[in-house]
Every structure is written in C-alpha cells, then in structure tokens.
C-alpha cells in the first residue's frame, strides 16, 4: 500500500453524504460493483479538496459514461468482483444490452418511419406522383421499409424462440409479466391498426406501389404522429374513437418495446445467436440509412405536387429518425466490438 498519509476509512459524515450524492450519477449495477470502494475514494478526495468543480464534473461525466455502457452504447461491461461470472459472460451481457438498445432505437425509427412512409404510399394510392423527388422517395422508402420489416421478422423469430425456451426450461415466473404485456400490446396494435385502417376513406382508385391494405395499416398504427397535437381545436373535431386510438396506440407501442427489451435482457442468448442478431442489426442500420435518405429527399423538396405535403411534423420526424439511427449505429458498433473481443 502507499505510504502516503490517508484519511481514515469512512471519513467525515459530511464528506460521506456528498460522496453518496455523487454516486447517484452511476447506474445501479455499477454502484453494486464499485460503489463502496468508489465512495471511499471520493470521501478521501473530498477531505483533501473540499470544493472542486472539476471533481463534480468528472464524476458526472464518468456516471453518464457508465450509464451509456450499461445501455450497451459505450465502454466496457461491469464485471462482478466475485462469483462465477467471467469476462466472457460480462461481454455477452454487454452485447445483449447493445442489441436491446439497437432494437429500441429501431422501433422508434420504425414508428416515425411508418408515419412518413404511409403518407407517401397513401398519396400514391390517390394519384401517381408528379414530382421526381416524391417518386424517388416513395420507391426508395418502400424498398427500404420492406427490407427493414423483413429484417425485423428475421431478428424477432429466433430471439422469441430463445425467450420461450429459456422461460420453459427455467420456469422463470419473472418472464411471464413482460411476455403477457408484449402479447397484449401487439394484439392491441394489430387489431386497432386493422380496424382504423379499414376505416380509411378510400384509395382514390389509383393503384399504388404497395398493397392498399398495408399502406392503410401503416397509416393507422402511426396515426399518433401528426401535427394536430399542436392544434387542439382541430384535434377536438376528430371522432372520439380516433382520439382514443391516438392516445392508446403510442402507449401500446411503448409497452411492446419495453416488454420485449425486458424479456431479452433476462434471456441468455447463445454466442451464435448474438452474432446473428448483431449482423442483422448492421444490415438494418444500412436499410434505415437508405430509408432516411429517401425521407430527407422528400422533406427537402417540401413534398411538392404530392397529395401529402411535407410539413414541420415531417421535418421533426426526420430529425427523430436521424437520432434513432445514430443510436442504433452506436449500439451495433458496441455489439460488434463486444463480439470481436469475445472471439479472442
């Protein structure tokens, strides 16, 4: 040990209180592993330097980085000091966290993407596009969205199988609640989407790029993404059922995403499945980038001469999708790094 004089272990009460407050910047798993020893270091530091803005900023930054790492978006996994958990287990857990974040970011992207895409595809149902920008945007976004949906199905099926097998084998009661929430939320979204999609007033008689039923379903499930929220008087003119659906559908979508994330976080996935999901994630990021480029092309031209004009809500939608894509790419990168380490 260092021969330097050290403050007594435990330090003063005031320093301990301040150390405890600083520790709150860190996530629970990090605190469980490093909390006690880190608090001792903080107490010693506070006793030596009672006032230090640099220390506070440093701890805040470290805490935020630890939270990003816990979400699988940066850094290294927390490795328990004791117990059977190996570095490899910790990395696999980190990769799983990255994939969960990738899935959540993709879901947000998909929600807002569906809102924009449904405008383009339904617009095409009413009349053929007269502008090159809208034509290119519709074709590009349609191809990218279909690829994105196919990838989502490919990713979800083996993951759901793994969740089901784990739940059945280990008889985990804690999986039942999120599984039930996921089932109910998806049922609500599907039934509601079908119901309100069927209520769409018509297609204008023109044959669109994608089946009218699919376009209407997308429109109905993303109905909550609209500019009417900023105009309460216009919103009040909506039928009560549609208003209720606009409130329920985002809630159901959020419940489905949170429940799926909870299930995945609690399920051990094999290294092969983790690698498969990570590769799909990378391809999904590419599909999302293509989709975003198509949307940006349409929004940049203001949706001129198309039935549905791009407005501020669409600009905001593109911004949200860009942010979601950045998070998804970071998660995919962290997962890839984790798997690269795991292969050593």
């Amino acid at each position: 040990m260092s021969p330097a004089a050290e403050p007594t272990a435990g330090g003063t009460d005031a320093a301990a209180d301040r150390a405890a407050r600083l520790l709150r910047w860190y996530p629970a798993a990090w605190r469980a592993r490093y909390g006690a020893e880190f608090a001792e270091l903080l107490i010693a530091d506070i006793c030596e330097r009672p006032r230090s803005a640099t220390r506070t900023l440093d701890v805040a930054r470290g805490g935020l980085m630890a939270r990003l790492a816990a979400a699988g978006l940066a850094g290294s996994p927390v490795r328990p000091a004791t117990g059977a958990t190996t570095a490899l287990d910790a990395r696999h857990r980190q990769v799983r966290a990255s994939l969960v974040s990738l899935g959540c970011a993709s879901a947000v992207f998909g929600g807002f993407g569906a809102a924009l895409w449904s405008q383009l595809t339904i617009g095409w149902q009413w009349s053929a596009s007269a502008s090159a920008a809208a034509t290119v945007a519709t074709v590009v976004t349609s191809a990218a969205m279909l690829a994105f949906l196919a990838l989502a199905v490919l990713a979800a099926l083996p993951a759901l199988c793994a969740v089901a097998v784990t739940t059945a084998r280990q008889r985990r009661g804690q999986q039942i609640v999120p599984a039930a929430v996921l089932t109910v939320a998806i049922t609500v979204l599907f039934v509601g989407g079908r119901h309100f999609g069927n209520g769409w007033p018509g297609t204008g008689g023109h044959r669109g790029l994608v089946p009218a039923g699919l376009a209407a379903f997308e429109w109905a499930t993303s109905l909550f993404v609209n500019a009417y929220w900023a105009h309460p008087s216009a919103l009040a003119a909506f039928p009560g059922a549609e208003l209720a659906w606009m409130a329920v559908s985002p809630l159901a979508l959020a419940c489905a995403v949170i429940a799926a994330a909870t299930l995945l976080r609690r399920t051990e996935l094999s290294p092969r499945l983790l690698a498969f999901e990570a590769r799909l994630g990378m391809v999904a990021c590419a599909a999302m980038a293509v989709f975003l480029a198509g949307c940006a092309c349409w929004v940049a031209t203001g949706g001129q001469r198309s039935v549905f004009h791009a407005g501020l809500i669409d600009v905001a939608g593109v911004a949200v999708m860009a942010l979601a894509l950045a998070i998804a790419q970071q998660a995919a990168r962290t997962a890839r790094l984790g798997l690269g380490f795991a292969r050593h």
Binding site: A4, L41, G62, R79, L88
Partner: protein, 123 residues
Amino acid sequence: MPHEKAGSKRDRGDGGQSLAGFGRYAGPATLIMSSLADGTKHGYALTKDIESFAGVRISPGTLYEALARLESQGLIAAVESDDRRRPYRLTAAGAAALQAHLNAQRRVADVGLRRLAGNWGTA
C-alpha cells in the same frame, strides 16, 4: 513487484489484449498499470502513487472509468479484501500489454531524443 508468473492459465482467458483500443483512456490506463506493476493498490493509493511518480492527479471518475475498462478486459483484477477499499493487481495479460505499450513509447522517445540531440543539441 509482479505477483504472479506471466502466462498463468487464469489470466490468459482474455489474452492478447493491448492498450490500442483504449483511445483517450490509454493515458490513465498506462499510469494505473505502471503503478500496479509495483504491487497491489486500492483507488486512493493509486491516486497518490501516480501523483508522486508522474505529477498527475487522476480524478476519481476518470480513475474508476479506466479501472473498470482494464478489469473488464482482464488486464487488472480485483483482490479479495474485507476492506471497503478494494485493492487491484496487474494480471499477466496486463503485464504483457503494459510491456508492449511502454516499449512502443520508448521507441518514440528514443527517436525524438536522438533527433533533438542531432538537430538542436538539447538532449
């Protein structure tokens, strides 16, 4: 003083690591591992030792960020302790990574000093 022989089976589990992937944490990581090369130390002892030999005070957040990274990559390991201040030790993989990193740094330093001596007469 090393606490184990290099290449022990336990520490080779994640072997082949280097400090190349540490980015901006390479500096703190090098200082921490250089300090641990002298024996086990807990967080406060590390801070004081690094301050004494490098003249740098590593802030608590940065120190533990680097410690967590080094530990997750198997370059250092926590030592069982009843004390709340848990000590850390360098692993064999960590010793090898530190050796490689310091050798690379020494090559750069040698070239720089040689050129300074040849052109500026200051080395």
